[in-house]
Amino acid sequence: MRAFLDNLRLALSTFLGNPLRSLLTLLGIVIGVATVITMMGLIEGLRIKVNNDLGRMGAHTFQVTKWPAGGFGRVNWAKYSKRKDFEMLDARAIEESCPSVGTVVPTDDDGGQKLVTASSETRPSVRVFGTPANYPLVSGVSVQAGRYFNEVEALDGRHVVLLGTDVSDALFPGMNPVGHEVRIKGRPFRVIGLLQKRGSILGMFSLDNQVMIPLSVFHQLYGKKRSVDISVQAKSPELFAKAQDEVASLMRRRRDVPATLPNDFELHTNESVTASFNQLSGVITIAGVGVCLLSLVVGGIGILNIMLVSVMERTREIGVRKALGARKRRILGQFATEAVLLSLMGGAMGLGLGFGLVFLGKWMMGFPMQVPPWAVGLALFMSCGVGLLFGIYPAARAAKLDPVEAMRAD
């Protein structure tokens, strides 16, 4: 312990004796650790955000669709688009023959629409959802102003619409849009409600750049030869799993899936959607850690270099220390401590820089960023390890020096 404290003091005085050189040496580690912190902060922030964003289905609700969850990662879209479409009849069949199922809500949606009013228009990127009147029951959607359309409006095919906040801001900046008229595909719609703001996925895909219209009207606009997504709410939380089983076996029967083949459709729950994203973010995290390890190795080579120089410069000192009774292990410890302290300092500076960047990214650019505690531990641990790994060779060289030879060096 005492030897360690002495070594620590020595290492510190070496660092302070040549601060500029030490700082330059540390740059690699600093940048490496800052990268770890920033990347992990971004990935973790996105993960938390997306998990919140994706968990948008209502309580004990799942969705039957032909598309894979979220669509993250590499997806063979051709394979999925060949699957048989889900029709309104499927929704009705579920409602009629699955005893554990409470509410069944078929929906359909299409992107890339432009909404116009007499005086302004949106960009052609609005997603239009067609839903029944009971859609808010099974979704995370809620109404901020006005109201959702009712059963009569839905069945009658009235041209009514609820606007997402992005759409409302584009068409009616600073105004309550309720009661105004917008045009979708050239048809006039009366705005009856404004949806609650929901934010975006990955900070990119806004969930507010969308509008809701009755499903029957949607089918008039877009045609009926499309696959609907069917949101299914179990009668109670206890029946959630049972309801999924009933729906799955019903759908297999209706779609003639042989017993030997897997489902040709997907059942999404909040959990399955977020799980599929988490799987992807795990891969990104591992890749990120790999990249950061690489930059830490570069930093480590800086440490290796400076420690070799340091040992060479202080050959005489090492000789004197050994002549006066320092054992090999002690010299080894002195230089290893120095290397570890050096890279730990780099690690600490990198942490500072990383948190600074995360702060900037979060508050100035609005990225969802949150540094997971384990990343701090990992960064410090890795810089410690790098110091030890790359410091041990120069330290061993110092320890092996012959005192007589070393004292003769100039």
Binding site: R2, A3, D6, S13, G17, R316, E317, G319, V320, R321, K322, A323, L324, G325, A326, R327, K328, R329, R330, P403, V404, M407
Partner: protein, 250 residues
């Protein structure tokens, strides 16, 4: 400090050889050297360059081990010890005084003097107190917070002597201690050695200067790796002087 072995001589060297292999060639730096040094003696080891006195100094200082023969220091056979065991012996038994002082340039005088105690594992406070006491013995307490480059040559050598004294070793081993000093400062250092000798310290002084060796009560003269004279310092040293004169005249 080492009562256990108070009986025999402090240093007993028996038939020591040291052979170096330099580029396939065998260099016999010591060819069977034997002598003893008692506690409290002040002995000069004198010889010209190439006589083997530096090798002798390294062996006596446990910085090197003999190729054959036996070296007993304070009752311990140190001739076959490992590097780390020798490090402990150097720390406990030997106080080194080098020609070039060998102070750590970035440390203060006080920290330099503390150094041997650091490797003995003493606590900060005890280290400091003992180092101050050692600096007091060489009258340098007023300069203890200065770094070596702020001290004169004589002051540096006194710091080095304080460093040698601080661990209370059984012998002080000085290698050309006045070699880098002007004659007045050198004389100052020799006086200090005389005081230390009178205080009962065992001193071994390796030098090529007959004048310096003549000040020692006993001198051992090496030539070509062998002892050619061992006796009263003045006599042995003068013999050297005569040889040098003869060589110069030839």
């Amino acid at each position: 400090m080492s009562e256990a072995s108070g009986a025999g001589p402090l240093i007993q060297v028996e038939n020591i050889t040291r052979v170096f292999h330099v580029g396939g060639e065998e260099v016999r730096a010591l060819r069977g050297v034997s002598f003893g040094i008692n506690r409290g003696e002040w002995v000069a080891i004198i010889g010209q360059s190439g006589s083997g006195k530096s090798t002798m100094m390294n062996v006596l200082g446990c910085l090197d081990t003999p190729s054959s023969g036996r070296y007993m220091l304070n009752g311990k056979d140190v001739s076959r010890m490992s590097d780390d065991e020798l490090a402990v012996i150097r720390n406990v038994e030997i106080g080194f005084i080098f020609q070039t002082f060998q102070l750590l340039p970035r440390e203060t005088a006080l920290a330099n003097v503390e150094l041997p105690l650091v490797y003995r594992g003493l606590g900060t406070r005890e280290r400091r107190e003992r180092a101050k006491a050692a600096l007091d013995k060489v009258q340098l307490t007023h300069r203890m917070h200065h770094r070596p480059n702020e001290l004169s040559g004589g002051q540096r050598q006194r710091v080095a002597i304080a460093r040698a004294l601080v661990s209370e070793p059984s012998m002080l081993l000085a290698d050309e201690p006045t070699g880098n000093l002007d004659s007045a400062t050198g004389e100052e250092i020799v006086r200090l050695f005389e005081q230390l000798h009178q205080a009962g310290h065992t001193l071994v002084l390796v030098t090529h200067e007959p004048k310096l060796a003549a000040r020692c009560p006993r001198a051992i003269r090496l030539s070509d790796g062998e002892i050619v004279a061992d006796g009263d310092g003045r006599t042995v040293a003068m013999g050297t002087a005569t040889d040098v004169l003869n060589a110069g005249g030839a």
